[in-house]
Symmetry: C2
Subunit: 349 residues, 2 copies
């Protein structure tokens, strides 16, 4: 394996008998290049197998057309879908995406924000999990940044939020409408007060209960620290073992709901006859579970689109039209309840 030195514009220029700048002009489609010259240059490029060194170009131009995307875990369907949409949208705008999973811990998230990683990109779309509003003092960022989610409610950056409270109010209200009277909620984070999506979803749940005049029973608010399938199964097990027997369950995400439904099924409890279940995320899986899972669709495609739009505005030096009086945007993307078998109405007896 010989040490292969890279072909540069200089080599192409010499081969084609023109200046380096002319090669650059051809590569960048500068219009005032004679056709014959262009042809010579293109031929030389082809013969030498030249390709443009992006690193050099980025350094010279001061930007890279790369945007950073930092999410906790690409294995969670929510984030997998979000990143797929972000990449699609970025491609449409001619930008690359560089990924940085941050899910490990708080320090990793701070590193993503403040490390020299950011000098590689034009801006960052950031969906934090461990950092929260109380960390505001530690967060100083001098590049375009769009924050997704409720963890960091800083009004000095643009943010895109999903309709957590409304989404859960609607889901809970629908269960009530279907006749449920003891509705549990799984995924509560007791230590979070005004950040993270958990309290906002809990708030929607409580609002719906209150609106229907139902009592608010703390025993039905089931904690789950993280939101993977086993945590949902655990939560249901704890709940049932504690003698609590709800007739409806809203889960903070679909993975919790999957785990919950499995545990219910293991105990011979039928969904939706004995308990109706609604999840959150409307992940692709939800329609292929058995029973298929009703879920709140947060509209991630729109979340991705908005995030990119805000970010590109900042990168190009514009103030987004969505910006409020403080100069920063807070966009809330509407969600929508998708009803499937897990919350099907009882058939008439």
């Amino acid at each position: 394996m010989t040490q292969q030195r890279h072909v540069t514009m200089h080599d192409v220029a010499r081969r084609a008998g023109v200046s380096v700048k002319t090669v650059s002009n051809v590569v960048n489609d500068y219009p005032f290049v004679r056709d014959s010259t262009r042809a010579k240059v293109l031929a030389a490029i082809d013969e030498l197998g030249y390709s443009l060194n992006m690193t050099a170009k980025n350094l010279r131009q001061g930007h890279s057309n790369i945007i950073g995307l930092s999410i906790p875990d690409p294995r969670m369907p929510y984030f997998a879908e979000l990143s797929a949409y972000v990449m699609e949208e970025a491609r449409a705008r001619g930008k690359h995406v560089i990924f940085n999973p941050s899910g490990v811990d708080r320090q990793t998230e701070l590193d993503v924000l403040h490390g020299s990683f950011s000098t590689l990109t034009d801006g960052l779309i950031f969906s934090p999990l461990h950092l929260n509003t109380s960390d505001a003092a530690d967060i100083h960022v001098d590049y375009p940044l769009v924050i997704i989610g409720e963890h960091l409610r800083l009004d000095t950056y643009d943010r895109v939020l999903t309709e957590n409270t409304t989404g859960f109010r609607n889901a809970t209200a629908r269960l009530i409408e279907l006749g449920c009277r003891r509705i549990a909620i799984i995924g509560v984070h007791e230590w979070e007060q005004d950040y993270g999506s958990s309290p906002y979803r809990l708030k929607g749940y409580r609002q719906a209960l209150a609106a229907a005049g139902l009592p608010n029973d703390p025993a039905l608010e089931i904690p789950a620290v993280i939101w993977y399938q086993p945590d949902g199964a655990d939560a249901v097990a704890r709940m049932l073992d504690g003698g609590i027997r709800p007739d409806g369950i809203v889960c903070m995400n679909d993975l919790l709901a999957m785990g919950a439904m499995q545990e219910l099924s293991r105990r011979g409890i039928c969904v939706p006859q004995d308990v109706k279940v609604i999840g959150y995320d409307d992940s692709t899986d939800s329609q292929y579970l058995s029973p298929s899972l009703s879920s709140v669709d947060p509209n991630l495609r729109e979340v991705a689109r908005m995030s990119l739009e805000l970010l590109c505005d900042r990168i190009e030096g514009r103030v987004p039209e969505e910006a409020g009086p403080n100069g920063y945007a807070e966009v809330v993307v509407p969600s929508r309840l998708v009803e499937r078998e897990s919350s099907a109405p009882d058939s008439l007896p």
Copy 2:
């Protein structure tokens, strides 16, 4: 929004009263810097909020510590998991990962390989879907490249394969052992002969039938062009509508299996009593389906680890120890059948 010029080493140097090179030395932990000098520099860095410009560093050093990862679709659990592992492994080696979804079409995959994207990275881990061995002539790449999967069987690059044939032979053999006699396989690509994972999996299936002396019925080999859930549901529908009634089904991936099981359930066919089902990928979902899905675990963690190991060897100019006589490695990662409810043995009558 004022135009914010970036703080450079030059600024730090002036502030600290040292040369630019000394700042560089401090930043790069060069040992021969007096403690007092180091302290001055660090203080200046802190005060000015300096951070190292990676683009410049990469240009100067000729490498970036970024590896490219190109997969068809991050929404498929297989690729979501693979990329999660690749990123984990990369982080452990101090490298960043830049993502490039290629799933759209053949041309996009060629662009990934030959576009100037590659000048941003030190090497590429590539899992093609549309390109295949017959495209060999169009593929000339002069940077470190590791190919995952069976589509591109080029012996001029390092490759990591999963144990497709063996995996499917074992899965099928297990169904036979459990008493199945008419076993369907879903996901056949009729146009693929010696590339893509489909024919290799089909081969394993046929081997198992042959070994058991069972006939090979082409009607049981059900095509599915792409491998998402609806395609699995479709395949089952077509099969049953065609009057074919198997007692076992092996699916080329878990998504197909999910769709298949849903369609079976819709038609009142019980898994595993009436039909036993086995998938491929052992995605996290599979254990939370109802019934939980037996699946072949391709060991993606090991696929990711090997890919990175091979790639890093090439980047650092070593020949991998796995390399064969032709100088390139072809590593096959063993898979393992994970049995769950969907292929549970019949209980005694």
